[in-house]
């Protein structure tokens, strides 16, 4: 009888080189980061009374402020709807061009995806600050910010959906000589419509959240009032605004979740 072969651990497995390496790297990064950012746990607790003071003042919402913020809340939702729609309109052709099963030209596809990647790197508030500088204070800057933001997001979500479609109907239409546009209209669209609408609603949810703070930099909506209340140290108003935002976000999320469930 031969002795059964026992699997041997290599030197690096025996001493867990990989795990130790990752841990050392992480600890080094964390220590470096806390040095860099001047994190001081003691200071947080020694100043904790200031923080609780703030919370106490926020826990007494100024309910009389509610009628004043209804209009800006509407404006916030309107900005989100328009911004998402404009972004989607521009996103659709880009999504088609970026889908690997529709466009076989690798260079074109790569170029389009590079543009989309670049657009997606820009944080929404940064865009808002720049567009406020261009278009002036108001909801125009907000709508354009949200349009660009949702363009980057939707085009990626859409081309990923397009890449999962069943190619059968496309090949059938191609074999009888249909044009590209006809193929997209009759073979691609019916397969993806529901998911498109679902992702549109999902982006709308995110944009409603985003649009509540865009006004902080002057891009319209409820954020303008948020900034005002904070700079006046009127935390009762801040609390009302945050609560109202919460209600709006939850209502929009609820409606959109319901619609998406009906669709899918």
């Amino acid at each position: 009888m031969t002795t059964p072969e026992i699997p041997q651990r290599s030197w690096s497995q025996r001493w867990h080189v990989k795990a130790v390496g990752w841990t050392v790297l992480l600890v080094a990064l964390l220590v470096g980061s806390s040095r860099m950012t001047g994190v001081d746990v003691g200071m947080f607790f020694s100043n904790f009374d200031q923080f609780t003071n703030l919370l106490v003042r926020m826990s007494q919402p100024a309910w009389s402020y509610v009628p004043i913020i209804i209009q800006p809340l509407y404006e916030t939702i309107q900005m989100a709807i328009l911004g998402t729609t404009i972004g989607t309109v521009f996103a659709v052709p880009f999504a088609v061009l970026a889908a690997s099963n529709l466009v076989h030209n690798q260079w074109l596809r790569g170029f389009i995806r590079l543009i989309l990647d670049l657009v997606r790197t820009l944080p929404d508030l940064l865009l808002a600050a720049i567009f406020v500088a261009i278009f002036g204070i108001g909801s125009t800057a907000g709508v354009i910010t949200l349009a660009i933001f949702s363009f980057g997001m939707i085009s990626k979500l859409f081309y990923e959906v397009i890449e999962t479609i069943d190619m059968g109907p496309l090949e059938a239409m191609e074999s009888v000589g249909a044009s590209k546009v006809t193929i997209i209209w009759y073979a691609v669209l019916p397969q993806i419509m529901n998911q498109f609408v679902s992702y549109f609603l999902y982006t709308l949810e995110i944009n409603v959240r985003a649009s509540t703070v865009l006004g902080y930099l002057g891009a319209g909506g409820i954020g303008v009032f948020l900034q005002r209340s904070l700079s006046e140290f009127d935390y009762g108003k801040t609390a009302v605004i945050i609560l109202a935002t919460l209600v709006v976000v939850m209502v929009i999320d609820g409606v959109s979740n319901h619609l998406r469930r009906v669709l899918l």
Binding site: N47, T121, P123, L126, I134, G220, L230, T245
Partner: protein, 275 residues
């Protein structure tokens, strides 16, 4: 014979759509049209500023001719130092948040027990509340507590990220493979042993993957938190925009784009190796 009878048989009732199904599309159309009319008429598009054209031109000029001297000048207030500071805020904030999120995730994850709905339901509500609380307001509140600077940014990121990480973690727990847990139970393990030897190793890769994903988002938010004074690259950015120093804006934008692209690629590679 048989075939003929079946062929002459007519359906007893013609296919009849209920009025709701037949006119559904019209109702949707009217609804959608109504929503859009409301949205378009409600907004006041204050006509373009007269300076919009010249401002855009100088922005483009600034973007094409970035202020390269700002990249590094050893003062600690240059682009490279502040980008590293931004990354430090994101890294530390995400790490702390990941640690705090674990108990929240177990709180919000739906279990098999009957009373679980109350527990997980309340946990999910708390996570939604945290998620909806604007990160900027959090940053401003922490600035009041610890003063302006990156420390406030770290705190804002750590608290705000709990909302999303807790949700993702709890979903990972709900969908996890229970096989390993059952194996430890059947071998006579007690619940701490089940937790340490089965639960943690099973969900760890997903937790790390979600944390990396959240880190990508945190890098973006850390780069804008500076706009309210919470450290990082956002502070010089907002100053540059306010003083119309467009070549400075150009180089900072370039820096942020490169940083985010690098971090996204790196994190994506790491996540691919994890799962």
């Amino acid at each position: 014979m048989n075939m003929q009878t079946t062929m002459t048989n007519k359906p007893e009732k013609p296919v009849h759509l209920s009025p709701w199904r037949r006119w559904r599309w019209l109702i949707w159309l009217i609804l959608v049209a109504g929503v859009y009319t409301w949205a378009i008429t409600g907004l006041h598009f204050t006509g373009l500023q007269e300076s919009a054209g010249s401002v855009s031109k100088s922005i483009v000029h600034g973007l094409v001719n970035p202020d390269w001297a700002y990249v590094y000048n050893g003062s600690g207030e240059d682009l490279v130092s502040l980008i590293i500071q931004t990354l430090a805020i994101a890294l530390l904030g995400t790490f702390v948040s990941a640690l705090i999120s674990v108990p929240f995730a177990f709180w919000a994850a739906r279990g098999d027990h009957e009373w679980g709905h109350l527990r997980s339901g309340s946990g999910k509500i708390v996570l939604t509340l945290i998620r909806t609380f604007p990160e900027i307001v959090l940053a401003i509140m922490f600035i009041k507590a610890v003063g302006p600077g990156s420390y406030a940014g770290v705190l804002a990121v750590s608290i705000h990220s709990i909302g999303m990480l807790g949700k993702l973690f709890s979903e990972a727990i709900e969908n996890m493979d229970r096989g390993a847990e059952e194996a430890i139970v059947s071998a006579g393990g007690n619940s701490p042993q089940v937790f340490m030897l089965a639960t943690i190793p099973t969900i760890m890769p997903e937790f790390i993957s979600y944390t990396l994903y959240r880190f990508e988002i945190a890098v973006r938010s850390a780069s804008i938190l500076g706009m309210v004074g919470a450290g990082g690259i956002g502070t010089p950015m907002i100053f540059a925009i306010q003083t119309r120093a467009w070549s400075r804006v150009g180089i900072i934008l370039l820096g942020i784009v490169v940083m985010v692209l690098l971090i996204d690629t790196l994190s994506e590679q790491l996540r691919k190796r994890l799962i």
